[in-house]
Assembly symmetry: C2
Homo-oligomer: 159 residues x 2
């Protein structure tokens, strides 16, 4: 695949920003559970557990806790593409070993491109239909992914 997938504006949501953290550190933040739990969920929500088996077919799963302490177990997702420090793709349509899950919400494609001393960070959420895209937008995709990215930058900037 080319590095830039085709965006379908009727089906995709996109967050693109340049952040002052090098791609190597953005990659670590996304692929090491000890880092990920510290930034992945916009506060006051928290991520209380994370499973990462970083290979196509390997598990990607996070467990979140609401501000009032309710733990929401997440459907285990699956990595599809793993290109070190550049590109990471996972979906909740499949679980570990590529087994279909009972339902699908989205596939996430993350691109980390060097830009100056930082990273051009592109997160694409791909949906099956406009209804799912809209639902994700109304759930707060843009503000949520952007707040989480702010947390990632705060966490990794000094490393």
């Amino acid at each position: 695949m080319s590095n830039r997938p085709m965006i379908n504006p009727d089906l995709d949501l996109v967050l693109e920003r340049v952040v002052p953290v090098r791609p190597e550190l953005v990659w670590k933040a996304w692929t090491e559970p000890d880092h990920l739990v510290k930034w992945f969920t916009p506060a006051p929500w928290t991520t209380v557990a994370c499973k990462i088996d970083l290979r196509p077919g390997g598990i990607f799963s996070t467990t979140m806790r609401s501000p009032d302490g309710v733990v929401i177990p997440e459907t285990a997702g699956c990595y599809l593409e793993v290109v070190k420090e550049r590109r990471l793709c996972w979906t909740d349509a499949l679980g570990p070993g590529f087994r279909p899950n009972g339902s699908a919400f989205f596939t996430a494609m993350l691109l980390f491109e060097p830009e100056g001393t930082g990273t051009r960070y592109t997160a694409i959420a791909m949906h099956a239909d406009p209804i799912a895209r809209r639902k994700h937008e109304e759930m707060g995709f843009h503000s949520g992914w952007s707040s989480a990215l702010d947390q990632l930058v705060t966490l990794m900037k000094g490393k």
Copy 2:
């Protein structure tokens, strides 16, 4: 992943046979549309079209015609693993570019291992739950995939 995925007997259907065709030719039969349309669908059904973009994220789609001429357009699926002449994995849970499809039925994992002058051929159909597995079994997975494999052998044996 190891070459042999874990089988879950509650969720998977498996066809395993040794066939007198070398892995290179089994691979061609599965990955070249001109071959695939000639064996993929048990007669008297036919495959009238096939799209193959042989890379993770690339399309795998077939269009079938019933004995009385009804054309059944298939949901476009997507390759997940492509290991030349040895291993091919695709799913209907995702379409091209890993975009989720509206529904998922199964992920197919095909293993082609050299055995004597032929191939140990293992086809694993992975489902989300026992209901989907049972539905696939009742649709005739074992006889259908076995008949199609017979057609593949007849087609490729003399090549």
